[in-house]
Point group: D3
Amino acid sequence: MSLILAEISDGIGTITLNHDIKRNALSEQLVHAIAATLADFREAGARVAILRAQPGAKVWSAGHDVAELPLGGLDPLGWQDPLRMLIREVEAFPAPVIALIEGSVWGGACELVFACDMIVATPEATFAATPAKLGVPYNATGLLTFLNAAPPHIAKELLFTSRPMTAARLERQGIINHVVPLAEISEFTHDMAQTIAHNSPLAIGVMKEQLRILAAAHALSPADFERIQGLRRVVYNSRDYAEGINAFKEKRKPVYLGE
Amino acid sequence: MSLILAEISDGIGTITLNHDIKRNALSEQLVHAIAATLADFREAGARVAILRAQPGAKVWSAGHDVAELPLGGLDPLGWQDPLRMLIREVEAFPAPVIALIEGSVWGGACELVFACDMIVATPEATFAATPAKLGVPYNATGLLTFLNAAPPHIAKELLFTSRPMTAARLERQGIINHVVPLAEISEFTHDMAQTIAHNSPLAIGVMKEQLRILAAAHALSPADFERIQGLRRVVYNSRDYAEGINAFKEKRKPVYLGE
Amino acid sequence: MSLILAEISDGIGTITLNHDIKRNALSEQLVHAIAATLADFREAGARVAILRAQPGAKVWSAGHDVAELPLGGLDPLGWQDPLRMLIREVEAFPAPVIALIEGSVWGGACELVFACDMIVATPEATFAATPAKLGVPYNATGLLTFLNAAPPHIAKELLFTSRPMTAARLERQGIINHVVPLAEISEFTHDMAQTIAHNSPLAIGVMKEQLRILAAAHALSPADFERIQGLRRVVYNSRDYAEGINAFKEKRKPVYLGE
Amino acid sequence: MSLILAEISDGIGTITLNHDIKRNALSEQLVHAIAATLADFREAGARVAILRAQPGAKVWSAGHDVAELPLGGLDPLGWQDPLRMLIREVEAFPAPVIALIEGSVWGGACELVFACDMIVATPEATFAATPAKLGVPYNATGLLTFLNAAPPHIAKELLFTSRPMTAARLERQGIINHVVPLAEISEFTHDMAQTIAHNSPLAIGVMKEQLRILAAAHALSPADFERIQGLRRVVYNSRDYAEGINAFKEKRKPVYLGE
Amino acid sequence: MSLILAEISDGIGTITLNHDIKRNALSEQLVHAIAATLADFREAGARVAILRAQPGAKVWSAGHDVAELPLGGLDPLGWQDPLRMLIREVEAFPAPVIALIEGSVWGGACELVFACDMIVATPEATFAATPAKLGVPYNATGLLTFLNAAPPHIAKELLFTSRPMTAARLERQGIINHVVPLAEISEFTHDMAQTIAHNSPLAIGVMKEQLRILAAAHALSPADFERIQGLRRVVYNSRDYAEGINAFKEKRKPVYLGE
Amino acid sequence: MSLILAEISDGIGTITLNHDIKRNALSEQLVHAIAATLADFREAGARVAILRAQPGAKVWSAGHDVAELPLGGLDPLGWQDPLRMLIREVEAFPAPVIALIEGSVWGGACELVFACDMIVATPEATFAATPAKLGVPYNATGLLTFLNAAPPHIAKELLFTSRPMTAARLERQGIINHVVPLAEISEFTHDMAQTIAHNSPLAIGVMKEQLRILAAAHALSPADFERIQGLRRVVYNSRDYAEGINAFKEKRKPVYLGE
Ligand code: NI
Ligand code: NI
Ligand code: NI
């Protein structure tokens, strides 16, 4: 069975995450499947893409496949990390990507959803950004996704507490576009997609690209950046980093010592 | 009859758009009239300006005068485009500008309102950003106005769908300051203006200028910018661009082919 | 009696402002006391800090100690100004700082609260940013705190009107994280702090530092900055600046002439 | 006869401009030929490339093919202009490109040579940057090539006078690496190339890319850039612009009126 | 007698410093005279300007009029400082400014010369940048003028030793364009000016403006800048600052204590 | 025997590299010794520092202690690398640092010398930047040191060929301040230091800090930087990287395969 399902009609491409066993974890394989499909959509002239889970999914996506994270000594969020690649694919896709969310969204999947152009969610959907719980030193472009999608105090609450937030709360803060009951969400989203598909794809493409560049334009000096990388290296080489990964795998609470 | 009406009293300048026939379209003439009035207000030591339409207006402003847009081959949003000049006038005005909105706001007029310092609107007011519908490749400073005024997902919904949003929704997202019933909006706005007028105009002026500079400080390398300009040129030289303008003038739906 | 009270337990440090007579004004002395306590917390390995006033406080903090502001001729918000130092201490503290607010927050104390990582407030709390009322030319990093915490139109309303806003309104705009009834706010905040304290302090520390750098990365050319400093110098050398300070001390309304 | 000759041996690729009739003008065709050859070199694992004219050439390259410049109304140096594409190809080539110069270098060919990684020239070689003589409003990335290669006062002398400078003078100013007599220059350059070819191509590739990015990192706000584009548009729409192109074609001196 | 002499012919404007008694110190009055003349030249359509001293001058300019520097407590190089204004006038003048130098150039006059577009000097000319000798904390845009004109190690030798450098040395480092014997320098410079005057003034104007913006584009975060201003304030409020000014006026060597 | 010798008199601190056996390689131990001495100098109020080797040294410094470089899998030039720390110490030292060079300077020691504020060298001194020979992917701040000290084409020749350049050539390109015969260099440098020591240390300190910040202000977006780090990671994880280190240790020529 394939990890994702893809279809395109009337200029609307739909990708359905279909790896329920792994709770749609963003494994390297899954990410490649999405990237390949987005490339197909692009070639087929899709004017909008919808990214969703199977109707009825309890977990929209569990985020990183923790089994793929290095145990230490290596930057877990380097340029070739599957999550980082996927975020770039979504941002580079020349048409809008709408995230359609039911179920819970965890960890790196939060960033994926925030990196989509628009978000529609059911009232029951929840979002939990978990790097602090797992002990992973998130990276600058990843944090910028949060900072661009959410008011800073809300972004910090998400990132520092790792607690789930409801779709309703995220909608009030301008992060989610619409909260729509489960029964209506597919049609609602399709309708929004159709409106977009009738607009000028060239104008939309060049606006999306400009918005991407403007939102990314929080430039740092090389020294600031290398200092950050140095701080992150201390973390992923720490005892606590390994503890976080191990505790997750052993399904127990991690005990962090700050070292 | 003049395109706008202007008056100033107690340090509060008021500009009333008065070109109902053209639905207050932001033609070169209208823009020059507003710029001249803002210059007068400045000289008269105005401490705040209110920008409004005639009471009872159905359309606050229809945005660009589409008749003035070039049919292709030329950047429709260059430095001397009337909308771009008007945005700069509002930003450079040394006192706060409050937009008082009743009726619907279309296209470039959305950006104008968003570029004002504060926005007060009636519950019936609506906002529709239409470059995607018209096929116009919006420019970087224009998109930055949206990105600074609205949470990114909301900005993208406005820009990619071209659908109108209600004042209530924009107020919840922090874009509009206050939604006030039609019967009270003039007095409410005047009251807010009066409060500002009693504060220190020097302190306000220097804060407004700093906020303008900080909000604009999303710097790009020249190469990024020239690439963007190249992408925009492809769009305004395209078949679709002419189709959008023509369809608008012929009052029919455009058919976009993505070429 | 000491200006602040400090305690730490279970990795949660709490600073209680305790200078009711001066309405917890951010005097040099008070700021040094907070800075010293944050240094202690850091050494003690605190994983989160709570900044609050005494239960029952009418005024959370009155902001700058106006008696300490220079009467003119000198930048009132230079690098060594107590408020500016305090903001940097909060931003540099390697663990999250939660502001727990009851009572009213005035002037520079607004920026202090906005600079905290998360904010919890009672429904009765209010926030009034008063530089325009007092005639003080706020500085660029200070304005950036507002611009990062609040949607721009809301930030401008706060700064240009100096009117108090309610906690409820700020919560809707994503500035405040939670509005919690007085009876529950201490426990609610402690609970949030506890959650943070169990997460990885290393991962949180490096994320906070990156978010600080990214949010500050609105870079200006030296010429833009020196121009701003020149504009601000005109203001703090003006007649109006002295009028604002004097009126405040004499508890009368200032009369601003714009000169 | 082909516009260029290409060969590769021992990891050293050599491109010889071979269009003497047109004085190796950088026509669209010639640029595509170079780009294709660089792509071949890349695939063949070339560790260094040499760009040269035929031994004995009087003119190394005459720069833009003026016949291809638009007569007005259009940016003559847009993203898809052949010169701009060629500069990007040289900068993006993952191995060093050495320019070997005999004869005179004119106009846009100056920028091409300056954009190469190293320059070796005969004592007789001369360089004349002619946009001011031709009346063309050079663009920002093009000017950055000059500013990065030459001390600013020298860059301005080149650009504002359009006078030829000798290889000796450019060598003294650090623009040219070595001046070598005609009889020895081929061997000298081959020797330098060989040294590079024995070094680590991976280390060199990543250093070249970082140097490219650092040198380009003179970021502007979108408003600064759009203002520049507006100023340039005034120029290429001017009477003088057409006069410059026409005078060149008619082989007479242009008469500029400043309008 | 007027402080400067001005004439314009054939599109070449010449300003001759004529205040030998004060060694052409850049007093507020002199700066205003130059600014007014540049404005006249601009109106008259000058295509190039030459800035020179009287033939035979021993001192080209002594730099700041030290009598005008504040004795402490105030930024001596604020936005309205005469030197800073003059630098901006030269940079904003829409045609090239050539500095023709005989005699010695001191202090702020060094920056003025470096800010000109091209420099021609006699072999006897010397340049001494004296802020370190005088104890003045130079400002960021001023230092950027040095950094853009000179290789950094040379800039630092100039600034940290305050020793005079010869025209020959500056020419070798690309700072001065040409060293020309006294007998020939006027004709040589006039000849260079004439060449420029025949080129396209529009193309030159837009290139000069772009080069100005690119060279200034070394952007800093507001926090970096405010820290710098704080460091500078410590210096101009120090005992040493007053000592430097006083010693200069008393024509004795200053004794610096570092406090 | 100590790795370095230190003395201070008349405000002039001198550090003499004294580890001839290891050819003054910049080992962690040596770097700590220099850092500690600079801290002592700072406390003692040194107004200038001289960094030199023992008179008669054949090798001024061999650069990195290659034995300390990781064999792969780890960034060899991370934030805590001894060379990177040393560069920061020199840049942060509040007084000028003069490099006095006799003998040859290799690898990372080149960057160290370039990072000093001024350089004086004997005619026999040579400089060889060897990362390409050794196969090490230099980092962004390190390359910026080269780009700031040397004209780009010269910097690339140094970095891409790894060939030694003479002091005479570097002096002509503005990289070295003075070439002075061996017999006179100590006195010459002491004399320069004395001049600096009599100038205002406060003015010099704040100018050095501003120049540091301005030169570093080549800001990148986080995405650009993370891409660079990804490219560098590919290199230090490559077969060629290990080959370079091993060949150096085995004193044989490396054979690079580009993989
Ligand atoms: Ni926001
Ligand atoms: Ni931003
Ligand atoms: Ni630069």
